[in-house]
């Protein structure tokens, strides 16, 4: 199927000459733009056909985007179809910084699969640029249970720690 592509796509020559870090950013950005333009979902084969980037490279970047929950995949038999991870309905910008420069952002997402709370883990790198390190998505209806369990778990851990110290 023919995919809708962004108007401006960086040339192959330019892409090859970028620093590895920039190349990764560039490909991931391009993939996200394509996912946004193609709501019906895209496959690696379709992408490889139309944007002339190596299939393995595309698959590995798509895997990264799925891991950090910027995209999600639905498996249909042996085929994976990728989608952009919904529209941000609400984002909380309070960033709780810890001494190791990790912090978390909270989003509320809305997509075909339902409504979700998405917690994204971010970290500042040596250039003080923010990198997404991971994330977790919890369905709306499960969120309160999740919080209760998390609190229970936190209490258990603290109790055990304090017993050990005594």
């Amino acid at each position: 199927m023919k995919l809708e592509l962004p108007k401006e796509i960086i040339t192959q020559d330019e892409l090859q000459n970028l620093r590895p870090k920039d190349r990764d950013e560039c490909i991931q950005k391009l993939l996200l733009q394509i996912l946004e333009l193609n709501n019906q979902g895209v496959t690696i084969a379709e992408l490889a056909d139309q944007i002339r980037i190596n299939r393995n490279t595309l698959a590995s970047h798509m895997k990264t985007l799925v891991a950090i929950r910027e995209a999600y995949a639905l498996n249909r038999g042996r085929l994976s179809v990728f989608y952009k991870n919904g529209k941000v309905v609400h984002a909380r910008s309070t960033e709780h910084k810890s001494p190791n420069d990790r912090f978390y952002r909270f989003y509320r997402l809305d997509n075909d699969q339902g409504k979700f709370i998405y917690i994204q883990e971010r970290q500042l790198d040596e250039f003080r640029a923010t990198k997404v390190r991971g994330g977790i998505m919890i369905e709306d209806k499960d969120f309160l249970d999740f919080l209760k369990e998390l609190q229970k778990f936190g209490m258990e851990v603290t109790e055990r720690e304090s017993k050990l110290h005594c």
């Binding site: 401006e8 991931q28 950005k29 640029a129 990198k131």
Partner: protein, 444 residues
């Protein structure tokens, strides 16, 4: 999730509108005045001013990349150090300021051609870059300095060489995809390291079609590689002579129409539109702003920002631009201002400067106070005993608050569906020629 602004329209009056821009915790009301900060004293002042209730329209600040070494970087480094007695960060005030104010780092690439800050630019680059970042830029600047020394008795020859070398630098960079990719990537990294809240590409100063093409290509490349966790801006850095070139202005407008980027930043170096005999330039500037309004009508989330906008700020904020910026003393031509003498005072009614020597008469005729109601001018009771440095800082603070007040006035006029008030204000000022920049009626 990529970072982008949310733009909510508040009020609208024909072509003008006020909006609220939200980026995380940062909320900016437009029209907004972004102060260009040049040293640590100005930065301290701005942080102090931001605490005032009246400073609602000062949501962002601009720092040139070579000024960050004395302003932003030391504070960013100190913000994680704790004060033992209070348990708070040493830079608690700055942290609070930075949480609600948007920091913009100006790439300042025009100083690859201009002389004034080039030395500082080179020294800063050498100090803040990591590993062998931006070698190509440093090599160019070093070569320029060697040549300057060699031709110190022949300024004309040096100027000609410099122009040619500058052109050659950018054309070579444009031809070599590997160097261009590294250069743009390294520069964006450097901006991030200096605390920038927006990625702005390092583009050449445009004086010809060739340079504009290079600038557009760099914009496209930077857009592709800029970190998606931070907003990105299209940046156009123009020489004032561009306003006399209709073909270039048309090309810029075409690009702006097709460009999907949410924020576009335009800097016209040494912009002067208020002097006599500049009808053509004023027309071209107005044409640029017409197109901005037109684009914004189709895409309401589009934002435009003008850097180093000098006296034109008021007219720009009324019509085409959402955010305007000038230096803290109001002058945007490279020179030493207010260092050896008591600098001029910006008259809010005249919208122009009054020399310090003339102020005594004005104060005398105005019941022994300055004709301004800002909280800074209210403090000044006598001009006689005021120290030179203290005066120069107060007049800067007064200027920032005056610009904040102008932005408030424009917002109020839009809210009351009476934007003509802004045109009348310009008509009664010393820069009345600028009134032609704002249309009376909406363009159909």
């Amino acid at each position: 999730m990529s970072q982008s602004y949310t733009v909510d329209k508040l009020y609208e009056d024909r072509f003008a509108r006020t909006t609220q821009i939200t980026l995380g915790e940062k909320v900016l009301l437009t029209p907004n005045f972004c102060t260009l900060v040049q040293n640590q004293y100005e930065f301290d002042s701005l942080i102090k001013l931001s605490l005032l209730d009246e400073a609602k329209y000062l949501g962002a600040y601009v720092i040139r990349i070579f000024d960050t070494l004395n302003t932003l970087i030391p504070r960013l480094q100190r913000q994680n150090q704790m004060d033992i007695s209070s348990g708070q960060s040493l830079e608690e005030l700055f942290i609070r300021f930075n949480r609600t104010n948007l920091g913009i780092i100006d790439p300042a690439t025009e100083y690859l051609l201009y002389e004034f800050h080039a030395g500082r630019f080179l020294r800063t680059l050498r100090r803040i870059r990591k590993q062998r970042q931006l070698d190509v830029l440093i090599r160019y600047l070093e070569e320029r300095y060697a040549k300057k020394e060699q031709l110190k008795n022949n300024v004309i020859e040096y100027e000609a060489w410099k122009k040619a070398a500058h052109k050659k630098f950018w054309y070579n960079l444009d031809r070599n995809a590997l160097e261009r990719g590294r250069f743009v990537g390294d520069y964006l990294d450097l901006e991030t390291m200096c605390g920038s809240g927006i990625s702005i590409p390092p583009v050449p100063i445009v004086d010809s079609e060739g340079m504009l093409d290079i600038a557009l290509r760099i914009n496209r490349l930077a857009k592709a590689i800029a970190p998606r966790t931070k907003p990105y801006a299209t940046y156009l850095l123009l020489q004032k002579s561009v306003l006399r070139n209709d073909a270039l202005v048309d090309k810029i407008i075409e690009y702006m129409k097709a460009d999907p980027t949410q924020l576009t930043i335009i800097k016209i170096k040494n912009l002067d539109l208020w002097s006599a005999g500049l009808v053509r330039q004023r027309e071209a500037y107005r044409k640029l702003m017409d197109s901005m309004c037109e684009i914004r009508k189709k895409n309401p989330s589009k934002l435009y920002m003008a850097l180093e906008n000098w006296f034109v700020s008021f007219a720009s904020a009324c019509y085409g631009f959402n955010m305007v910026s000038t230096s803290m003393h109001g002058y945007d031509r490279d020179s030493e201002y207010g260092t050896n003498t008591r600098g001029s005072w910006f008259d809010p009614d005249l919208m122009y400067y009054v020399p310090f020597e003339d102020l005594e008469t004005i104060v005398h005729n105005n019941g022994n106070r300055l004709p301004c109601y800002c909280s800074i001018c209210k403090q000044i009771v006598s001009l006689e005993n005021i120290e030179r440095d203290a005066w120069n800082m107060l007049r800067r603070e007064h200027y920032v608050l005056t610009m904040n007040e102008y932005m408030r006035m424009i917002s109020q006029a839009i809210k009351e569906q009476n934007i003509e008030l802004a045109i009348d204000k310009l008509s009664n000022s010393e820069v009345s020629r600028l009134k032609t920049l704002i249309p009376r009626e909406e363009k159909q």
